[in-house]
Amino acid sequence: MPPAGIWIDGLIQSCIYMTMAFGMVLVFSILGILNWTHGQFYMLGAFVVYYGIAAAGMPLPVSMLISAVLIGGLGMLVEKFIIERLTGPGYGPLYVTVATLALIFFFEGASGMLFGALDKGLATVLPGVLDLGSFSVSYQKIAVIIFTLIVMVAMYVVLNFTKVGLAIRAAAQDPVAASLHGISVGQVSLIVMGIGCGLAAMAGGIMAPVYVINPFMGRTPMIMSLLAIIIGGIGSLTGAIVGSIILGFLNSVIAYRLSYISELVLFLLVIIILLVRPQGLFGASRK
């Protein structure tokens, strides 16, 4: 039985990937595409927060909101000018995939040029640790957990009790019927892309104090949240949440037990899941 510290770590891991995975699934369920650039929005969000705090001296929540707005807008631009053009009839999923993959290079290169090569950090934000006897947890990580809870609740409310949310869910279930009921699917996907990227940016913001900030920090979270949504089932929001919880705990427990083999185990697990039950644990099977 791993020590409590590992389980806490697993919980934090799950929270880290949950917000990102949620955003990805949201985008997937409306636009029907995997946004491979998601990790880079996470990275950009972290940078915005960094400069918000280090340069402009704003408090963390404020700069997180700002980064959510900015990066959400950026995501909308990407949707408007790139994704929308590549999801018309006759386009396979390949075009969007390649375009978003190319955007990875674009954003990483751009931020590499803008922000320089030195790693950045925000250790001064929420310093200190909460001592729990056998182990201790930093306030930054506790903040991550709280943030994730807030986001999840907020998303639940938005999706269930607001007009936008209802429109989103309608469009997700049946675009045609939704458009017949006067919901512009185009607008909805724009909004959803904004929300998804905003979530990614906020995740990056809340993670900025915890980890190192550099232009390439987006890759691992991207892959991890991708694996998470596959475990949970592509296109299912509950799936995203459960998937990232499973992944988070698996990740730290396996790493604790088997060290670096964890990587291999995760990929194998994903392949098996996709072969046995492609729609994942919670996904509705789309034949």
Binding site: G5, I6, E108, G112, A117, Y211, V212, A255, S259, E263
Partner: protein, 418 residues
């Protein structure tokens, strides 16, 4: 399909092609200068893009400043004064990119000397330089070790490879220094990325076994950000000291997280010079960064190694220039044991050989020759061990972070191989 559309398409493609040719012509001047007789070009395939790009970017101001300072006098060979020219090319931190970069440098720019590489592409680059008889001064470590040690370096097929920085030996020396410094630690913890596995580590393990030192090795997959499981494993193995191989970001996160997990007494060292103390403090937090141990390359603090005061002055001068150029305080000394000392080896060998073109003669001068560099005065040796007489020595000093300064810790000058 409207007509304007296709016009737009043709326009864009025209633009792309134009861009390509513009960039192609951008390198023309470099080629034009090959005609200039009194310039010795030194190639440097470095990661300028991608996750490894900091290794190319951070030292660059110092590199250029050093060359600038060096060129104020230049160097005389056979009564003719020469200047150095450093050409960096992006090697994309990959074997393919490294080979491509090396070929451009050799056949495009006409470099006859390489002052090193930083990436995982030693074999690919060496495979390009040797047939072309280009002298490739680099470091030992991971792949760059003799076949007899399980490495990929074969003195017979790679006669033009010179190991100007014995990173492997420095690493081992530092490990022993740590063990000496912290005798209370029962076990030495060591951490590296899965990419790092190979001959280098096998050597370290052998030496440690011979010396009867207990160690515990952990490896993390590339891109790991959360080290809690590994820290816990080290803790349970009873490691007081953890020595991390060269990964800056990972080292900082490891230090930060071990601090947050309450293992404040765990000493963390990293086999690499500190990039920028300020960075360590902002990333790890001031307290967690204290006592971090890293390599130390500032020659003015050496107590055992004698470094030519002229070079010390030049290094300080270069640091100043770099600071002026970047407009920020520039304190990265890690480069001092790298391009400067490599260029000095090459230059002095040229002077000995009395030629700047005949690489065979220059290699003859390098083998067994003694060279006075920014890393001290050393004799190329190691014939017994490497099967190749072209390994250099090093001060292999350590420092630790105190406040926002790096302070001299230990130093045990390493002759070529222990």
């Amino acid at each position: 399909m409207k007509r304007s559309y296709s016009v737009a398409i043709i326009l864009v493609i025209a633009l792309i092609l134009l861009g390509i040719f513009a960039i192609a012509s951008a390198q023309k001047p470099a080629q034009a200068q090959t005609s200039e007789a009194n310039i010795v070009k030194i190639g440097l395939p470095m990661p300028l893009s991608g996750p490894a790009s900091p290794w190319g970017l951070i030292p660059t101001p110092f590199r250029e400043a050093w060359i600038e300072v060096f060129n104020r006098e230049g160097f005389d060979v056979a009564g003719k004064n020469y200047k150095l020219k450093l050409i960096q090319v992006d090697d994309q931190n990959s074997s393919e990119g490294g080979a491509a970069a090396a070929k451009q440098l050799i056949y495009g720019d006409g470099c006859k000397f390489f002052a090193g590489h930083w990436s995982w592409n030693f074999p690919a680059v060496a495979a390009v330089t040797n047939p072309a008889k280009v002298i490739f001064v680099t470091r030992t470590g991971n792949q760059a070790l003799p076949k007899s040690w399980g490495g990929l370096y074969d003195p017979k097929t790679m006669p033009y490879v010179v190991f100007g920085s014995p990173s492997e030996e420095i690493f081992i020396a530092n490990v022993f220094a740590l063990v000496k410094k912290f005798p209370e630690s029962k076990q030495l913890g060591m951490l590296d990325c899965t990419l790092g596995a190979g001959a280098g580590w096998d050597q370290v393990f052998d030496v440690l076994k011979k010396a009867g030192i207990k160690y515990h090795m952990e490896r993390f997959p590339l891109g790991t950000t959360d080290f809690a499981p590994y820290i816990t494993r080290f803790r349970e193995a009873g490691c007081k000291v953890v020595y991390i191989a060269g990964w800056v970001g990972e080292t900082m996160q490891f230090a930060k997280q071990r601090w947050e997990m309450g293992y404040k007494d765990m000493v963390v060292g990293s086999s690499g010079p500190f990039v920028n103390i300020d960075m360590y403090n902002t990333v790890c937090g001031h307290d967690a960064a204290q006592g971090l141990i890293g390599q130390y390359w500032a020659p003015w603090d050496y107590k055992k190694t004698k470094v030519n005061p002229k070079y010390i002055a030049m290094c300080r001068e270069a640091l100043k220039i770099a600071a002026q150029k970047t407009g920020k305080p520039y304190e990265y000394t890690g480069e001092i044991g790298w391009v400067p000392s490599h260029t000095l080896i090459l230059v002095q060998a040229m002077q000995k050989a009395g030629t700047v073109t005949d690489t065979d003669a220059i290699m003859k001068a390098i083998r067994g020759g003694t060279f006075d560099t920014t890393a001290g005065k050393w004799t190329m040796s190691g014939a017994k061990t490497y099967g190749s007489p072209v390994v250099f020595g090093s001060p292999s000093a350590l420092c630790e972070i105190k406040g926002d300064k790096e302070v001299y810790l230990t130093e045990d000058p390493t002759p070529p191989l222990l």
